[in-house]
């Protein structure tokens, strides 16, 4: 392919590539600069590193947590809760959307309930969840599910109802029943919607699991964060925050990768 390109075209491509590389370098540069400034400020005692911590102290805390094995345990617990909450929330939300799309009467009946549930701050349900689901993992997963399920239903249902009327008409003229309209048209044409929802739900599930851990848990990164702040170990709090950033980033990247594959196949 590339051999067909004119020299001007190749020059243009090189220029574009240079720009992209420059953006990446700058992104890393910003991070490095911030870390250096932070460390310098702490070393020179412009800031009180007991309150702000510092990159070197975070690094030491991280090494310590890795060495005594506690980090992996907490990471594993939080990730597991998040992934389970994410999976249940998304599946449940999708199923509810299918039911509400299928039955117009039910959709009209439940629309206001869905809207109210969506605007309700789920953290307000914390006390109820603790009493009903106990103080274990069940509560945390329930929280993650609650946060992701309603937004999933709303987004997916919106996609379903916006499916091309003409294409539905075409299928009906071929004698399609509702099940066929769903499997041949509505579901495949909404794969991009589903992918966008998955991306939103990565964030939602993490909010749910960390909030859940704040409320009840004895383990997990949310617990470690609360514990760190209670004993005033800001090093621990900062370390957990950074680990969380990395975990959420990795999970988001995985979903984005999945989206790339799916959208290639189903883009409209």
């Amino acid at each position: 392919m590339k051999s067909n390109f004119t020299p001007e075209h190749l020059k243009y491509l090189r220029k574009q590539k240079r720009r992209t590389v420059f953006v990446h370098i700058s992104q890393i540069g910003v991070l490095v600069a911030l870390l250096c400034l932070w460390e310098l400020a702490a070393q020179l005692q412009w800031i009180d590193s007991f309150i702000t911590s510092s990159p070197s102290r975070i690094w030491n805390t991280l090494a310590e947590l890795v060495q005594n094995g506690t980090l992996w345990h907490h990471v594993w617990v939080s990730t597991w809760e998040t992934v389970v909450g994410f999976a249940i929330g998304t599946t449940l939300g999708y199923c509810v959307a299918v039911i509400l799309w299928w039955n117009d009467f039910l959709r009209r009946v439940f629309e206001p309930y869905v809207v109210v549930l969506n605007s309700l701050p789920k953290i307000a349900l914390g006390p109820i969840i603790i009493i009903w689901a106990g103080t274990g993992k069940a509560s945390i997963i329930t929280m993650a599910v609650l946060i992701s399920v309603v937004i999933t239903t709303i987004t997916i249902l919106n996609g379903f109802t916006e499916t091309s009327n003409e294409k539905q008409l075409l299928l009906r003229s071929m004698g399609a029943n509702k099940f066929q309209i769903f499997t041949k048209l509505v579901a495949p044409s909404n794969v991009p919607t589903l992918m966008a929802t998955l991306k939103i739900n990565v964030g939602m599930a993490w909010i749910g699991s960390i909030m859940g851990e704040y409320l009840v848990s004895k383990e997990g990164l949310g617990y470690l964060l609360i514990y760190g702040s209670q004993v005033f170990r800001l090093d621990l709090v900062m370390t957990c925050t950074i680990v969380l950033c990395l975990l959420a980033g990795v999970m988001y990247a995985l979903v984005a990768f999945l989206e790339k594959i799916a959208v290639k196949k189903f883009d409209i």
Partner: protein
């Protein structure tokens, strides 16, 4: 033989604030192998008539007689190809829906693809094809279920003028080669004249048959040549007067 017969069809739509009579006491028939066009002022309920014939909505009054139930192929405005399916899979959509996809019907679909120049593109996706090819794929999708009657709802309206003339020729010759009966609705007089054996002129809403006109251009084999024939403009003016005169009376 009559493939389709409409007997005193009326259709009323109801809404919260009013009722609208879309079609009133309409009768006409379509014979086997005929190409019939329905023209009428825009918004007069042409699409409603096709929906009634396709059985998507029920008439308020009257009766629609078709030879075989479910033997209708509906071609809508724009091609409505599914972007996530290959051309081959798009063409087989109707067969899949009717649970009729087997070796025999597949072979017929393949044959159509070969005959009409889409065989090399069968593994491609619709966005890789030109507007004209997409329209041809949509026609093959309609033909694959071997309908007795084709319903065409302004199938060329989304195309630019140049492409429209080509696709029009293309679609016409395929329909003739497969000796299908076709019913076209359009607001474009020249399109109706260049394609149809018989033109049914409708009144404004509530739609009813104003007149049935046979342009007498049947001897000329392609739509493009019909457009060039000396009779064409006289026929055009005649039909235009029907439509226009109707408006003036209001």
């Amino acid at each position: 033989m009559t493939v389709l017969e409409l007997k005193n069809i009326s259709k009323v739509f109801y809404s919260k604030t009013q009722q609208t009579v879309a079609v009133s006491n309409m009768s006409f028939d379509v014979n086997e192998g005929e190409f019939v066009a329905i023209i009428g002022p825009s918004g007069c309920g042409k699409t409603t008539i096709l929906s009634l014939i396709a059985g998507l909505i029920a008439p308020t009054e009257g009766e629609i007689v078709t030879q075989h139930a479910n033997a209708i192929g509906y071609m809508l405005q724009r091609d409505q190809l599914f972007e996530w399916r290959t051309i081959e899979k798009n063409v087989c959509l109707g067969l899949e829906i009717k649970h009729k996809l087997n070796a025999q019907t597949k072979e017929y679909a393949d044959e159509l693809l070969k005959k009409y120049g889409l065989w090399e593109f069968r593994k491609r996706y619709p966005q890789e094809l030109s507007g004209g090819m997409r329209q041809r794929a949509a026609l093959i999708r309609t033909l694959a279920t071997e309908p007795d009657l084709l319903l065409l709802d302004e199938p060329f309206s989304a195309l630019d003028f140049q492409t429209r003339l080509e696709v029009c020729d293309d679609v016409y010759s395929i329909i003739r080669k497969e000796s299908k009966t076709a019913l076209l609705v359009t607001h474009d007089i020249s399109e109706a004249l260049s394609l149809a054996d018989r033109v049914i002129v409708l009144t404004a809403r509530p739609a009813t048959v104003l007149t049935v006109h046979s342009p007498g251009l049947n001897g000329i084999e392609t739509p493009l040549k019909r457009r060039e024939s000396p009779d064409f403009s006289a026929q055009f003016e005649l039909l235009h007067r029907y439509l226009h005169g109707e408006k003036n009376e209001k």
